[in-house]
Amino acid sequence: MNRIHQKLQENKKLLSIYFTAGYPTINDTVSIIQDLEKNGVDMIEIGLPFSDPLADGPTIQASSTQALKNGMTTEVLFDQLKDIRKSVNIPLIIMGYFNPMLQYGVEAFCKKCQEIGIDGLIIPDLPVDEYHDEYKAIFDKYGLINVFLITPQTSVERINFIDSISNGFIYMVSSASVTGSQSGFGDEQTNYFKRIADMNLKNPQVIGFGISDNKTFTQATNYAKGAIIGSAFIKHVTNEGINTINTFVKSILE
């Protein structure tokens, strides 16, 4: 059974953390993952940095630029992760843009993910329809879950379509925005969270974009199975370094 499925069955709200691989320094990847698990994080999204991350706000952009400067590449990341399953048990998802995967070769990329023990992928600029027609068979062959996004603007019809071809969880973007641009959720967002919760979709939802503290984490998980923190974690690492990950995670879970 895929670790993501297992995790989703646990009777708790899930905290997922995104970080950019190769940031703040090239060799932090493994220790960040280990530390996050040790401190009670349920799932990790490992960001494969891209030169032109057009769905991301300034924080993740800057970390991606730095990671690339530090020398991060697809090859380097796979190499860093090759023994990760000897020490880490929680689900690991690679989040990255499509072009680097296309250059590596989609099948070769998926095969490598399976060898390492990656459980799923999030590729914001690979559209659902393209995935469905061209790549789903490959993902299935290597046991990878592809996670799709929905937003407040996504139509009911399309949400149902996305639910029908998803096989894990749905990544609910909290508001019409790039990553990192929120500071607390208002009525508009909570109404949207509720509206989706009431749809009783086949796949549980995990909310991301704009989750930054205990308050927003709690608000989101009132309606969804879990929440994903990205920019706020990167900011913490930028300001405090990687030795105080425990205080960050504690501040979210309180």
Partner: protein, 398 residues
């Protein structure tokens, strides 16, 4: 169209052969889908056609002349015609597209307009039509380009646009495009994004091509008047993203007898590391929402192109051109900075026309490639050189 000829237009899935598509994050899906479902319908409305054509005539100053360049022709011993897009209002072909898209935006009920710009020509053309229609206009421009292209920044401001510096990445056109896309993600309901070239997710390349196709529609009847035939032997255009080229080729794509020549910027030389010759240096990849030929590292990171001309300084080409390249329908030629500058000055001296440096690239092919004396070669003179004076002054120490 000849029976066995390849289709060079977009197919119903938004592809030109293997290139194109709409590789966009889900956040943009509603906007792009709304456009996809409506653009052909809206463009076919008689009211739209009437307003578009009227503005092209009265406001832009179309038809732009097809000018027989006698002295240039003598020099190269062939028949050279210049399609004078430089005489359009705002000084380039860019306005054909912005007029079309602003009318599209109005019909879609959008009242906030965003655009990206490199040299500032598309930014000025967008600011112009926003002033014309009384719509809010925000133009993203790389911080480096803002300093390089100060006069166009001032123009945009005078026209009422807000110019926002793109501070990420290399702070040039590619990053301005990223910022415009991010703005669109953040403002999904009231905003229309006027892309300035034949790039981006489907239906943009096709929509921009169709708005620019007025160029080749005019060439057909104009050439008939000059030469008694609609089809030249060659059509030539420079390619940044490929909008003036797409418009120049459009009505000739399936006329086999018409040779298509695409001119890219080689910068300091194709193998110098400072180049924008995508057809030579690019590989299939995804940029700004479409699959196309793209300059990138082996690891799939998009690389920074270089050209003396800001308008050709883009790491990709539109998907239609990628297809024309791959199928061999178009002949691709790369022109170095020096060659373009020399050809530009040559046109000044021979014909009394100061061309944009982008267009100078197209003119430079006559030094590289021979044509027969009886050949009729139509070159898109995509823009005028006013915006490039500083560059010309520095280059030639005028």
């Amino acid at each position: 169209m000849t029976k066995n000829m390849e289709n060079y237009n977009v197919n119903e899935k938004g592809y030109y052969g293997e290139f194109g598509g709409a590789y966009i994050p889900e956040m943009l899906y509603p906007n792009v889908e709304e456009l996809r479902q409506n653009y052909l319908k809206i463009m076919a409305e008689p009211g739209f056609q009437k307003e578009f054509n009227q503005l092209l005539k009265d406001y832009v100053g179309r038809p732009s002349p097809l000018y027989f360049a006698k002295r240039l022709s003598e020099k190269y011993n062939t028949k050279i015609y210049l399609k004078r897009e430089d005489l359009n209002h705002t000084g380039a072909h860019k306005i054909n597209n912005t007029i079309g898209q602003i009318l599209m935006a109005k019909r879609l009920g959008k009242h906030r307009i965003i655009a990206e710009t490199g040299a500032g020509q598309h930014g000025v053309a967008t600011a112009t039509v926003c002033a014309l229609m009384g719509l809010e206009c925000i133009v993203y421009m790389g911080e480096i380009d803002i300093t390089r292209q100060a006069p166009n920044v001032a123009r945009m401001k005078m026209l009422g646009a807000k110019v926002v510096p793109a501070l990420s990445g290399s702070r040039t056109l590619k990053d301005a495009t990223n910022e415009a896309i991010r703005d669109w993600i953040n403002n999904p309901v009231n905003t229309h994004y006027i892309i300035g070239s034949a790039i981006g997710p489907h239906p943009y390349p096709d929509m921009v091509t169709k708005f620019q196709s007025v160029i080749s529609a005019e060439i057909k009847w104009q050439l008939k008047e000059h030469e008694g035939r609609e089809n030249p032997d060659y059509v030539v255009a420079c390619i940044g993203g490929g909008s003036n080229a797409a418009g120049t080729y459009y009505h000739y794509l399936h006329e086999e007898e018409v040779g298509i020549i695409a001119v890219e910027a080689a910068g300091l030389g194709v193998n110098s590391g400072e180049s924008a010759a995508t057809s030579v240096l690019g590989k299939e990849g995804v940029i700004h929402g479409c699959k196309t030929l793209l300059m990138q590292t082996q690891d799939g990171q998009i690389t920074e192109p270089y050209s003396i001309s800001a308008g050709l300084d883009y790491p990709g080409v539109g998907p239609m051109h990628a297809h024309l390249c791959k199928t061999g329908r178009a002949e691709f030629i790369s022109i170095k900075d020096d060659e373009a500058m020399t050809a530009g000055l040559d046109l000044c001296k021979l014909e009394g026309i100061i061309p944009a440096i982008e267009s100078s690239h197209a003119l430079a092919i006559f030094e590289q490639r021979a044509f027969k004396p009886e050949d009729v070669v139509v070159v898109s003179l995509s823009g005028r050189g006013d915006k490039d004076l500083q560059n010309y002054i520095e280059y030639f120490k005028i």
